[in-house]
Each structure stands twice: as C-alpha cells, then as structure tokens.
Subunit: 456 residues, 2 copies
Amino acid sequence: MTMKTSSAAQLATFAAGLRFDAIPEPVVRFAENLLVDWFGSAVAGHGSRPVETIAHFAQSMGPAEGPSEVLVSRAGTTPYLAALANGAASHVAEQDDVHNGSVFHPATVVFPPAVAVAQALQASGRDLITASVAGYEVGIRVGEFLGRSHYKVFHTTGTAGTLAAAAAVGHLLKLDAAQMLHAFGSAGTQSAGLWEFLRTAADSKQLHTAHAAGAGLMAAYLARDGFTGAADIFTGPQGLAAGMSSDSDPARLTDGLGTRWATAETSFKWHASCRHTHPAADALLTVMAAHGVKAGDIAQVVTHVHQGAIDVLGPVVQPATVHQAKFSMGTVLALAAQHGHAGLTEFDRDYLSAATQALRDKVSMVLDEEVDAVYPRRWIGKVTVTTTDGRTLHGRVDEPKGDPGNTLTRDELTAKALRLAAWSGGAQPAEMQAAIDALWNVASWPRVGRLLGQAA
Amino acid sequence: MTMKTSSAAQLATFAAGLRFDAIPEPVVRFAENLLVDWFGSAVAGHGSRPVETIAHFAQSMGPAEGPSEVLVSRAGTTPYLAALANGAASHVAEQDDVHNGSVFHPATVVFPPAVAVAQALQASGRDLITASVAGYEVGIRVGEFLGRSHYKVFHTTGTAGTLAAAAAVGHLLKLDAAQMLHAFGSAGTQSAGLWEFLRTAADSKQLHTAHAAGAGLMAAYLARDGFTGAADIFTGPQGLAAGMSSDSDPARLTDGLGTRWATAETSFKWHASCRHTHPAADALLTVMAAHGVKAGDIAQVVTHVHQGAIDVLGPVVQPATVHQAKFSMGTVLALAAQHGHAGLTEFDRDYLSAATQALRDKVSMVLDEEVDAVYPRRWIGKVTVTTTDGRTLHGRVDEPKGDPGNTLTRDELTAKALRLAAWSGGAQPAEMQAAIDALWNVASWPRVGRLLGQAA
C-alpha cells in the first residue's frame, strides 16, 4: 500500500499486533497493579443503588448462567452483559485509576469487558494483561486526542472508553489490524456520555462506563464476524473530532506507539477525597513521619496551594455531608493525620467526629506562587506545621501519592483493595485476600477463571 | 411547583401521560399503517449480512429462549436483545418510513423496542399503538430540535432514536412523568451515531439503529427501577444541543404537543430509489395513467427538477451497480414505466435489462424554476413526455407518493410489505399475508404475541 497510513490504521495495527513479550517487564508489573486496583474498585460497587440497578437489568436480559462473572452479585452471565454490570460497578466509589493527561479513567472501561471476555474464552492471564495494555494505550491516546474542549461537555471516560474497550476485547478475539480498525469505527460511532447529569447529581456516570464497556465489546465481536466500520472514525470529516471536539490533536493518537507506555503513566487514587486535597495531605503525612509528629501534637497547619484548590475547596468550611467533607481541606488533613490515610471508611465513620472537627479548624490554605506556577502540569504539596510544643516544620511532596513518580506499592494496593471490599461488603476479608493473592500471579494463569468465589 | 416547567419535563409528561383515547382516530389508523410498513422493512432485513451479524451477536449474548421475537431468525430472546436485532434489521433495505422535517426514520427505532417489550409484557395492541405514537411524537420533535447542523455530522435516527425508543418503552413500562424524564436523561446521554461510515460504505447504519433501540430501551427499564438521569438532557449547558448542535431550536421540543400529531406527518417510501427521483417517477406514472401511455410508447422524457436532484443524480449516466442505479433518474423512470413501481425486486432483476437501458437513455433532467424555488419544503414532480406517435404530454404531482398528502393506501402498504418479504425471503407469501392481515387488527389484540410463526 503506497498511501500514507492513517493514524487510525496505525493505532489499530498497534492494538492488534501487541505481543506480551513486547511489553517491557515494568509495564507488565504496572498493569498487574492496575488490575488489582481495579478489582478493589469493582467489588466496591457492591450495594450501590445505581450499580445494582444496572446489574439487575443486565442479568435479567441474559441467561440464568454464563461464563462471565458479575462481581457485585456473583452471578454468571454472557460477556456482554457482565461487561455492562462490571463497567457500572468500577467507577462508583471514585477510587479507580485515572490518567491525568487524558482526564480518562481507564480501568473501569478496560478491565470489565476484558475480564468478561477472557473468562468466556478461557484466555490466559498473559492474554488478559496484553489485551488490557492495548486497551489502556488506545483509550488514553484517544482521550488525549479529543482534548479539553471535548471534556467540557463530554465525559471522556464514556466516549474514549468505547475505543479502549474495543481494543482490549478485539485483542482477546485476535482481530487482525483491518478488523481492529473496523472495531474502532463501530466503537467510535457509539461514543457517548454528557456531563449534564452533574447538575442534578443523577446516576449517569455509572451508565456511561457500562455503556462504553458494552458498546466497545460489541464493536469488537461484530468486527470479528465481518461487520465493517468507518476507516477513520477519529479525524474523518464526519468523525469524532468533527462532531465532538474543537481542539483535537491527531498527533496524540499515535504518540510514541510501542515506545511510550501510557499504561504506566496512570495514577492510583489513595485518599478518597477531591484530588486538590491530596498534595497537602501527603505533605502533612511526610512531615509527621519525618519528625515523629502525632495528630495530637498539631497546633496549626498552613497548606500552600494553587489557586484552583482555593477555588474548589475554599467554600467548604463546615461540611454537612460526607460528600462535602471530601472537598474540605481541613477534614481531609484531619483524617489523614489521625489514620495515616483518608479513605472511604475513615470518611464514613469520622468526618464529623469531635477530634476531626477540632483538627479541621486548625487547617488553612494560602496561595503559593511556586505551586500555582507549575499547576496543572505538576501537583506539588507544601505544608507548614506548627506543633503544640512550638516547633515550625515544613513538609513537601513533588508528586501526590499514587501518581506515577510516587506510585503505590503492592502492599498499599492490596490494603486499598481490602479496604474497598470491607467498605462495600462485596467480599469477606479472607476471600478478598485470597482473590488478591491469586491476582498478583495473573501472568502465570493458564486460564482466566472467576475472580471471586460463588455466592456464599 | 412554581418553577417554569422545562421543555424536557413537558415532553416527558406528554409521553408518560398519553392515552389511547386521546389519540385522534385517523392518527391511530395512521400508526397502524406505520406498524405494517415497519413490519415489512424488518422482515426485509432477513439475510442481510450486517443485520445477521448483529442478530447473531444479540442471540449469542442472551438466553436460548425468550418472549421477544427476532424477526430475521424467528428466535425468541429477551426484549433488550430482540430490540438490538430488529433495530438493525428494519433500516437496511432503506424502505422504512421517514419524517421529512426532522430527517429522522422513526419506525426502525420505535417499533423494534416497542414490539419486543410489548411481547415480553403481554401488553395489548392498544398499548403498543399508544406507546409507539409516544415514541414517534418524541423522536420527531427531538430530531427537529437538533437541527440541520446536527445532521451534518450525526445520523439523527441514531441520536434522536434513543429518545424515541425510551419514550415508547417507557410508556409500555408505565413510567410516570418524573421517571420518563429520567429515562430521557439516560437515553440522551447515550445518543450516538456519526456519518463517517459513509465514506467507505461501512455497515454502521445498522449498528446505529440497533444501538438506539437498545440504549433507549435500557434507559426506560433503568428509570422504572429508580435510576436517575439529567433533568434537561436537551438544552442543559452540557446536554445534547451543547455538545452536538449549533442551530438547535428548543421550541420544537414541545411544538403542538397533543394537538399536532407528528406521527401522521411521516412519509412512506414507495420506490426503492433515491428520494430525488420519486417526484418525477410519480409524475411520469400519473401522465401514463391519464393518457393510457405504455412504456413502449415513450420516445422521450424530460424531467423538470430542483438543483439538488441534478447535483446528486447528474453524475450517474450509466450505472454499474444496483446501488448506483437507484441514483439514476433514467433507470428509475424506466423501471417505473415498465412495472408501475421501482421496487427492490425490479431493481435487482431489471436495472440493466435491454429494455431498461433503452428507456433510461431517453430520460433527461432540466432545472425548473418553480420546482427549485419551493424545494425542500415541497417536492414537486414535473415531466414532459413525448410519445412515439408524436404527442407531447405533461405530468405533475405536487407531493411524491408516500408523503402525507399522497400517502399509501392499506392495499399498497400490504403489497409493499409482501414484496419486501418476498425479496428477502424472510417469510413465505402466505404466512406474510396472514401476519399482515392480523396486524391490521392490532388495536383489538388483547396481547401482543409473535408477529411471525416459529421457524418452519
């Protein structure tokens, strides 16, 4: 072929052709981390009303049994319907991973369809990892391509998510490059998800991730069976960018394919609060650890922040709900200081405790020129702590905990997943521990089976 | 409530509250015509590769049996998966209905989910009709609201289609007005469908209608179970118009609700060719009937057309494929003159016959000021026919056959549906006749059952 190969075709060729052995070892390990972290978030969806509603719909429209696991109910169904249910489940606790540059949450749209299909095909753990990396690499680049103008109206995780799901499932189905390109066309022409639901705090976020997982999976299955899609759903004159972006950047679609591993740029969430609170919380924990400061030793904390943090968090002085508390800098730092971590359980239990309120009111924010100048490229955390015995201590982190340069250890990821399961009641501690232990060895699995046991 | 009720809420209240007895008798009869016409188009999808691919996917992801009928295969499945399959089937022959003002094909996104759900619920024929009218009224208004800018990039039948499907299914599920509004939010946030597939003649059109039918159905089921959606998915600052239109007209959403019956403005397709050929073909048939002219008597035909017809049809002089022949004014008029109708079967069999080619080359187009001036509001057909015995005859229609002012009779609709079934082989003539005979009495059905028999 003498024609210049389109970005879409290059991306499809990459996604179809990716081989496990071509993925650098650290990226494979990172993908395992992402999988375990996702698993905790999916189990955290147990008991959530919008999640259970979608899971009920999916199960009621499918067979009574099937090879693919609905994690919130332990039911088995077909891969399409399991992808819908688990896609809904994985984003609701807001503890799933995020790729900062694309403002895209990959795990919730990649792993639900990939795991469901791997279970149905009895694919190996290596195939699951490879397919998931394909999904991350594609989805992140599509999110970057669609740009900030897109994100203003569209929920990128819903829109780019169809492509991520199609890439992952397409890889498991062993699509060739031409079929993968057709799958991209069929996925992208189903891309959807509007932010309008935020105005009334409606349930659509769970529908968006379910939809992306299901639509992308369907696109890949159809392509396997000969169904064709647009040759360039990204940059064509009636494609995604034409319809849904005014600042798209086609170069991002193929940026560093095979050399830049966007998968490993993904951030894990550690604290269960607004991201603007994380740098200061981590800086406080750093200085407490370095100087042996306990929560009771703190007289005052001044956080040195960027303007965006003041804009978003400034209005929240006395939070009235647990959701609001996640936007209270004082509450987040108070919980972190007391428990070493501001997680879902700590919020639910202690966000209005006397000790939390007392410590909360000792925290203030001031604009910091250095921090503000590098935001949002970097999220620096700086705090000045005054202790009850009169010391003035300075704490700093250059990347908040969970970002690629300050990522979570496997022990921290295990602990986080266990906490999420305990929080939702989606799995018993012992079975969750066993499931996580097994998942750490996913690359050696001959076949992907159930991740949790049957219903007790 | 003292707030001004939003257009979205008014539309939802109308869709939820519509009662059979409130629909004027002629509109009910018209809806029955639409249902029979849709049925023919759905059966016409039998054997089509893209349709069968989607139907196979839907059936493979569902149970082995179910209450809802997949028309192309006679299988039974759940309503969601039947809606996907039949939504794919109904648009592929391009013989399904169209609402000119909204550039929207209602039948293919309304009846597949409505019939599938009615079968599952054992709803009455009256309930099916009422729900379908709700779907038409909503979908057409949403299409009009989204405007021409939307249609330039988006396939309105795919996007507005999710709302139409949600309204129809929501009515069958007896959603109240608040639930219907939530269903609209969940449907609209899944609206999708890009024209980019046209560039390579890919299969996406069938995916768009399947997607709309399935996503709208899902939105309604979720709303029944308490799932919430955006309060104004239409005009909200991050809603459909914000993301996907630059000339939206909110007044259209509620235009004449309960007094203007948009359902009855729908056009039936008669000839199986590009719409630009229809006015002239009908004018030719009119003059032939009036003066007893046979095909063999024609020496020359000059068609007096609008510029758009010349732009689209002008390049097609010697069509090489049956698809291209549908854009050849000469071929269409030649088939109509010989057979009284240019249908799918006539095209397949005769588009390159010697008689067709000879007659085709006697047809020309000239720009007509009167016709061009009123286009696209009106589609006037004018021809001047010269006969072999030297007569010059003028023919004219002010509305092409199938448009509301020149609609099809029940005999013509029956004949069309029988032809479509014979063309695809989707049903035997006798069983199709029996099914159509039964459908004409749908309003008296106590329960909606299967439309076709089991597989022979």
